[in-house]
Amino acid sequence: MAFLEAQNVSKGYGPAWNRSEVLRDINLTIEEGEFVAIIGYSGAGKTTLMSLLAGLITPDTGTVKLEGREIKEPGPDRGIVFQNYSLLPWLTVYENVALAVDHIFPQWTAEQRRKHAEKYIRMVNLEPAMQKVPSELSGGMRQRVSVARTLSLEPHILLLDEPLSALDALTRATLQDEISRIWQETRKTVVLITNDPDEALLLADRVIPLSAGPGATLLDSIAVPLERPRDRRALLECREFKRLRNEVVDRLLESKRKPTTAITRKLVLPDIQPEDISITTSRFVFGAKRKPKRPHEVQPVKVEVEV
């Protein structure tokens, strides 16, 4: 049985008569210890997909199962790292992590919990900034705190929702290497959502393109058989990497070219009888009865319409 499994999942927003379907027929299986990257256009529904996996929202149809149990609500077994860090700004770095640790491991002693929190702060190289509040940190550092907090929950699966897309290119590269290092240390199951093909290929075992929305769905996955540890400079020279990169980009472009949905609603024009409502009398009196002309009385006017 697969570790994480999504079957025929679809999700839409809006009322029934004006529904926009975001995700359609999502089928996904992820094995334990696998690093999977889901790549797609912005606005295609990547975050919606992640929220479904995290249990923050429930699917309209289909089921999402983690270790055979259906996901119905969010929980600490699925650690999610949000795009916008989601740190509590009134707590220090340590307190942000400690809030999670204290709540998830209440049976531990205070000493154990402190050590546990510090271990993960050290893992993301943030020991010197432990007593700082998020507003004193750079974007990259904040995201590291978020990663540390999520890892400290010891989740069964790590969900990374575009964790690096708000960062500058250099910081992003550093953090990519760090994620890669942490993954090799912990070998957790990871689902990474990204819009950067290089990032996906650098980090993941398998890349799954998400077709362009609306009604986005997952395309066939592309295995990444590149050796680990991967060196970003060596990869740029690597022919296999270039081929994979082209394949990912081609798949995405192709999904955008052919529309995946047809317009299902028929446009119904209002049926209105024409009536002459111009005021013809010179005596303009408010409330005076005007004689409406019936359709047969109105002279047909030729209207030219530019198409």
Partner: protein
């Protein structure tokens, strides 16, 4: 830098000087004349002339108020005390009413912010009660506590008029706290709530670890506005109940035709209100979490 400092000190003084000048120019001046009356006796007649003949000039106001200012804590009688003694009495009453307002207003604001149903139930009532003047609430308070006399050991005995004043202060100053807290709760970013959901924090823990800290800046803005209103209400409350305090003193001196003291009271109320507002904004800045 020094120019800036000079400006921030000098320019307000210019404004104040201009106001005093304006006051002086419309105030009445005493003119003493010696005239012969019908019987041929020489009499001195003092007449006040000016745009507002009975308004005392700044100098007269100072002369009449000196005793109250230089001996601010003197107590010559229940209704004849130093100005700070009166201020202290008023502040005590305000503090109690304000505390009641916060204790009721904050939870009410949280409920409004958290529950749409509760908002729909309460919103019309709040919108109707909010604009009612303290002068209107006080008589109702009097009726409500007509025969009440509460003795809280260690605090004191509350008579009907005191309870009515507290009721008025509380119900008038509550609304900014209620509204701001509700807005603050509604403005909490979904991200913070998602954190609580992912961690599966309990309801109480979510409240105290996420909701309250996230709302704190809004709450303190509400607290500051509420304090301003509470201080505003005290004068009306004291006037109508005749309790000793700045407002009571003002009304009593008006009835005693001692107009200089009215100005003294107005200035005291203004200065105290300003100081309270400054203090609250310091506290507000201290609790700024976001």
């Amino acid at each position: 830098m020094s120019k800036l400092k000079l400006d921030s000190l000098l320019l307000p003084l210019v404004g104040i000087a201009f106001c005093v000048l304006l006051w002086w120019s419309i105030a009445g001046k005493s003119i003493t004349k010696q005239t012969k009356d019908d019987w041929g006796d020489v009499v001195t007649v003092t007449k006040r002339v000016g745009l507002s003949a009975d308004l005392p000039t700044p100098g007269e106001t100072w002369k009449a108020s000196r005793d109250y200012i230089v001996k601010p804590f003197a107590k010559r009688g229940e209704l004849d005390q130093g100005i700070l003694a009166f201020t202290w009495l008023s502040l005590k009453l305000v503090a109690q009413g304000y505390l009641i307002a916060l204790l009721i207003g904050t939870p009410l604001g949280f409920c409004l912010g958290l529950s749409k149903t509760f908002t729909k139930v309460c919103d019309p009532i709040i919108q109707i009660l909010r604009p009612v003047s303290p002068l209107a609430w006080l008589p109702l308070g009097m009726v409500l506590f007509l025969s009440a006399k509460i003795n809280i050991p260690g605090v004191g005995i509350y008579t009907a008029s005191e309870l009515a004043a507290l009721f008025t202060i509380a119900i008038c100053s509550m609304w900014p706290t209620v509204m701001n807290t509700a807005v603050g709760v509604r403005a909490i970013p979904q991200d913070y709530l998602n954190v609580a959901r992912v961690l599966k924090l309990s309801k109480t823990k979510t409240l105290f670890k996420v909701l309250v800290p996230a709302t704190l800046p809004y709450m303190f803005t509400g607290f500051r506005l509420s304090l301003g209103i509470a201080w505003l209400v005290i004068v009306a409350a004291e006037m109508l109940t005749g309790k000793p305090g700045v407002g009571g003193f003002l009304w009593q001196q008006y009835n005693a035709l001692s107009y200089a003291h009215i100005i003294l009271c107005i200035l005291t109320i203004g200065v105290v209100g300003y100081v309270l507002d400054r203090l609250m904004s310091v506290v507000e800045a201290r609790f700024k979490t976001i």
